[in-house]
């Protein structure tokens, strides 16, 4: 069977397997260790009701939290990675992609869509940490670049939610060049005077930090997210000392001037709307879009 077929079937199986969250399951907060029923955890937007720790969530959850009625039009859903370098470490790269696709039910580490935030249409990209650590390979770069193209064509604000361990080593320099590609597209967006809001979530590191995640007109962090260029382990090894408390956390970045604000997940949607409403792109005169982006309409899974 071709590799593409294998990826597709792997994902389908996973999607069919998806069952509603059963009752009586518990989530143990990694921060305060308090158990919460998974139902309550979900209702609380995957934030610990006890200590406010923001759990790691992916594109499906963010789409359902941020888009009106959880409705959106997904872009480029079928893009999957090639294996340009025939990369083999402990296993071949395609096997790694396939395993991750099967496990996560995702094609790669980002999903892109257009949808509405309290009525305002936006183009949005959300990274999925569950796919090879949210690493940035060609698919991540390409899908983000195309979502920015859609924002440019339709004169929409762009929102990117970052959550990434950094580069995808198995794509080596192809991965590196995605930093240049996405940043170049954001330069065009900026020239078109369209707003870009970057949301940095736990963790945002490496090449993602050194490209689109830090380039927002407005940078917003979720509370206590790890955000940095070099990973804490690398820095610790380099300086040979323990890192200070709170180093590279959202509050640290706010203090040093690299994010505009820290916003809790429950307030994110309204804050985005408030900002975009003041900037007022939707109030400008907009001609009808020239080309329709290739896209599929789908509804976020309802709980």
């Amino acid at each position: 069977m071709s590799w593409f077929k294998r990826v597709k079937e792997g994902i389908l199986t996973k999607t069919q397997d998806k069952k509603p969250t059963p009752d009586g399951l518990w989530y143990k907060c990694p921060e305060c260790k308090t158990p919460t029923s998974t139902k309550e955890f979900e209702t609380n937007l995957w934030v610990c009701p006890d200590c406010g720790h923001h759990g790691k969530i992916g594109s499906a959850e963010y789409f359902s939290i941020l888009f009106d009625d959880g409705k959106f039009k997904e872009l480029d859903a079928d893009l999957i990675s090639g294996d340009p370098l025939k990369f083999v470490d402990t296993k071949p790269y395609p096997d790694r992609v396939l395993a991750s696709a099967k496990k996560s039910g995702l094609h790669d580490a980002v999903r892109t869509a257009t949808g509405r935030i309290n009525g305002l249409k936006v183009s949005m990209a959300v990274m999925d940490f569950s796919f090879i650590g949210g690493s940035m390979g060609s698919v991540v770069g390409e899908k983000i670049a195309r979502a920015i193209d859609v924002a440019l064509e339709q004169k929409l604000p762009m929102i990117i939610i970052s959550k990434s361990g950094g580069a995808r080593m198995m794509e080596a320099a192809f991965s590196l060049m995605q930093m240049a590609k996405t940043s170049a597209k954001l330069a065009l967006l900026s020239k078109a005077k369209l707003p870009y809001i970057s949301i940095l979530t736990d963790p945002t590191t490496g090449g993602v930090t050194a490209s689109f995640a830090m380039l927002g007109d407005i940078n917003i962090a979720e509370p206590n997210a790890l955000i940095g260029f070099a990973g804490p382990r690398v820095i610790k090894e380099t300086i040979g000392k323990d890192l200070p408390e709170g180093f590279q956390r959202s509050e640290f970045l706010l203090e040093h001037g690299f994010v505009d604000m820290i916003v809790e997940r429950k307030d994110m949607k309204d804050k985005l709307h408030e900002v975009l409403n003041i900037i007022g792109v939707h109030k400008r005169e907009t001609p009808a879009p020239k080309t329709k982006p290739k896209a599929k309409t789908q509804k976020a899974s309802t709980k």
């Binding site: 079928d78 999957i80 240049a180 940043s183 995640a213």
Partner: protein
């Protein structure tokens, strides 16, 4: 004797003989010039053999050779005049990133590059060629100045990576690099980037978005060093050779994959074996590229630059692939 890399070991004995012959000759009693020229010929021959089919790892070693020319050596070797400019106007002057106004055979340019040090003291002074945010911001300041005065920008890339540290993070290493990527994409003058040694990750790309990106023959450019790649993927430092192959980080591989525009030949034995020849051929290439790019309109220049980077990537549409 020159510093020999491990794969150059077969040259050691020949160099010893050459040194002895030279010493005897210098004493003035015996004329050894025939022996000397024969030995020199032999060394060339053996070197030619050794350099015929270099592995990725061997090229990484050459790119780090202690005698290899660094940015300021290239500037001195290629530019009749050079006025170094300092500081990012905010925090400090980063010694790992140098730059300034220069003239290459009458062609005015802004030249910027990572700078390594040659001895222990210099290496520390230059932070091993690992720039801090100030370095990237200094580079951007100079690029914006070049734009203002309509000067082409030439960057020389030679870094084991952007500096990892407390201060680098406090002052926004990620933001500094990201900003350069964005600004370089739309800078309104030609940008030529040359990897002259090591091109490690975002630290290299931070001055690497250009209309022409070239690599010298024995350099490497990738998302991570082979050693770090080995330690992450194989959980050991022992697979650096394997990692170097897997990463396809050599100039020829990068060119084959369409990630750099051209490969510039080095003298036999690497740039350090004949620096003057290297400066001369690099200078010719730079002049040729500036001429080529200067003929383009600003709009076309920027369009092509963005298009080139936009086309980099390996992916496919599953549905289309299955339909095939």
């Amino acid at each position: 004797m020159p510093v020999l890399l491990d794969f150059e070991k077969p040259l050691e004995e020949l160099y010893e003989q050459l040194e002895k012959a030279q010493a005897t000759h210098d004493k003035g009693k015996v004329d050894m010039s025939d022996t000397i020229s024969q030995l020199e010929k032999k060394i060339q021959g053996v070197r030619k053999d050794l350099y015929k089919d270099l592995t990725g790892w061997q090229k990484v070693q050459i790119s780090r050779h202690p005698d290899r020319p660094y940015t300021l050596d290239y500037i001195a070797g290629m530019c009749k005049s050079f006025v170094e400019l300092h500081g990012d106007r905010n925090v400090k002057d980063d010694k790992a990133m140098v730059g300034g106004l220069a003239s290459i055979d009458g062609q005015a340019v802004m030249i910027i590059g990572h700078q390594k040090g040659r001895n222990t003291k210099q290496r520390q002074y230059r932070n091993f060629g690992m720039a801090n945010p100030e370095g990237y911001r200094k580079a951007l300041r100079l690029m914006k100045m070049a734009e203002k005065f309509n000067l082409p920008v030439v960057t020389l890339i030679d870094t084991p990576g952007a500096s990892p540290g407390l201060e680098a993070e406090e002052r926004g290493q990620g933001e500094a690099i990201a900003k350069n990527l964005l600004e370089m994409a739309v800078l309104e003058v030609p940008i030529i980037c040359i990897v002259i040694g090591e091109g490690a990750s975002g630290g290299a790309l931070g001055i690497g978005v250009g209309d022409r990106v070239a690599m010298l023959e024995n350099t490497w450019y990738s998302v991570i060093s082979p050693e770090s790649c080995s330690s992450i993927l194989w959980r050991s430092w022992d697979y650096k050779e394997k990692a170097a192959d897997a990463l396809k980080l050599t100039a020829s591989d990068m060119h084959e994959n369409g990630l750099v525009d051209l490969v510039i030949r080095e003298p036999l034995g690497g740039a350090h074996n004949n620096p003057e020849a290297m400066y001369k051929s690099l200078k010719l290439e730079i002049k040729r590229m500036i001429k080529e790019l200067s003929e383009m309109s600003t709009k076309r220049l920027i369009d092509q630059r963005i298009k080139k980077f936009s086309n980099m990537g390996a992916y496919a549409d599953v549905e289309e692939e299955i339909a095939k």
